[in-house]
């Protein structure tokens, strides 16, 4: 289990848990981010903050502090969910 903030660009992780008491997490859940969903760290800003992450076919920018609170499982092996191609 690793904080999302520690992923390398291009690395995937499966979200282990969210804390709905945190406003940011409620926001992310509204965007479709739920436990079990696969995230990808796209890149970091030059000073390491913020981060661009991808999930559910969208890219979202997160502060480093917010990403530190999201715990992911990097050993989980599954591709990122995208809109299904015909």
């Amino acid at each position: 289990m690793t904080p999302l903030s520690q992923l390398l660009p291009g690395q995937f992780g499966k979200l282990a848990s969210l804390n709905p008491e945190r406003g940011v997490d409620q926001r992310l859940m509204a965007l479709g981010l739920l436990p079990g969903m696969v995230l990808k760290l796209i890149r970091r800003a030059p000073l390491g903050d913020p981060l661009a992450i991808e999930f559910g076919g969208q890219v979202v920018s997160l502060r480093l502090a917010e990403a530190e609170n999201l715990i992911v499982d990097v050993s989980a092996d599954c591709p990122i969910q995208r809109p299904r191609q015909p």
């Binding site: 969210l18 409620q26 926001r27 509204a30 479709g32 739920l34 809109p83």
Partner: protein, 272 residues
């Protein structure tokens, strides 16, 4: 704010940047400039929309939002408008849910919440031209069936495509009172919702809708409780009661049995 005659009121809702304002302009014929600043729609914009059969309704364009759990004043406007809690404004007779056709998963989460309002719904899959470019094909009939028979139409408001279909779909939704399929809650959560609704109704002396009960149970944000006049102490006491505590553990961290998981299962069915 004034309504020309006591005609029907139809509200446009959807995620930000799905094309609500562009669709609004296409439907009402108003020539307003639509900017691309997120959260552009803060004022109430309304116009008259012809449903293609001579019937005219008042159409109101609402700010974009991702969830009916309000996190900002403009989101609160949407919730209040949809539930008829804005002074001098009626509750909408139908809701047009504008969906970005390129990301149904995210957009249909809002649909699962709009379903709880119990209003006739039309789903407009906008930006269909972009979806086509992405080689996405959407089976609107299947989607309609899975969502309880509400009209589902494809449009590209920017190109002016599918606008007549949207008009007809609104007419059909009103005529047939098409309702979105609701989330079926696990029994413990359904029981907790009923308890919250009963307690809030008892404490405030006001009826509490299903949609309000969910906001009271699921949201940390107190806006719904404030509107109903349910005090923090009353709410806390209820949420700590035995039945509700068993449905939703008060402590975090959060096991995946909590409400939002079920909610999303229902809204992101494997159909897409």
């Amino acid at each position: 704010m004034s309504t020309p005659e006591a005609g029907l009121l139809v509200a446009l809702v959807g995620n930000p940047n799905t094309g609500k304002s562009t669709l609004f302009n296409a439907l009402t014929g108003l020539r307003q400039r639509v900017g691309n600043y997120p959260g552009v729609t803060v004022a109430r914009k309304s116009g008259t929309c012809d449903l293609g059969d001579g019937q005219k309704v008042e159409l109101v364009d609402l700010p974009g939002l991702y969830s009916l759990a309000a996190a900002s004043p403009d989101e609160q406007v949407v919730i209040d408008a949809l539930s008829g809690n804005i002074a001098g404004d009626r509750r909408p007779d139908a809701v047009v849910l504008v969906v970005d056709a390129t990301n149904l998963l995210r957009n249909l989460f809002l649909a699962s919440q709009v379903a709880e309002l119990g209003r006739p719904v039309v789903i407009v899959l906008n930006q269909a031209d972009v979806a086509k470019e992405h080689d996405l094909r959407i089976d609107t009939e299947l989607l309609s069936r899975r969502l309880g028979g509400v009209p589902v139409v494809l449009s590209s408001a920017w190109k002016g495509e599918g606008i007549l279909d949207v008009r007809r779909a609104i007419a059909r939704a009103i005529a047939q009172q098409t309702q979105l399929k609701r989330v079926v809650w696990p029994t413990n959560i359904a029981a907790a919702l009923a308890d919250v609704a009963a307690a809030a109704a008892r404490d405030t002396g006001k009826p509490v809708s299903d949609a309000d009960a969910q906001r009271l149970l699921f949201d940390t944000n107190p806006s719904t409780a404030d509107r109903l006049g349910w005090t923090v102490a009353q709410r806390e006491k209820t949420l700590r009661s035995a039945a509700i505590a068993s449905a939703i553990p008060a402590s975090t961290p959060w096991p995946p049995s909590r409400s939002c998981t079920t909610r999303t299962c229902a809204s992101s069915s494997k159909a897409w």
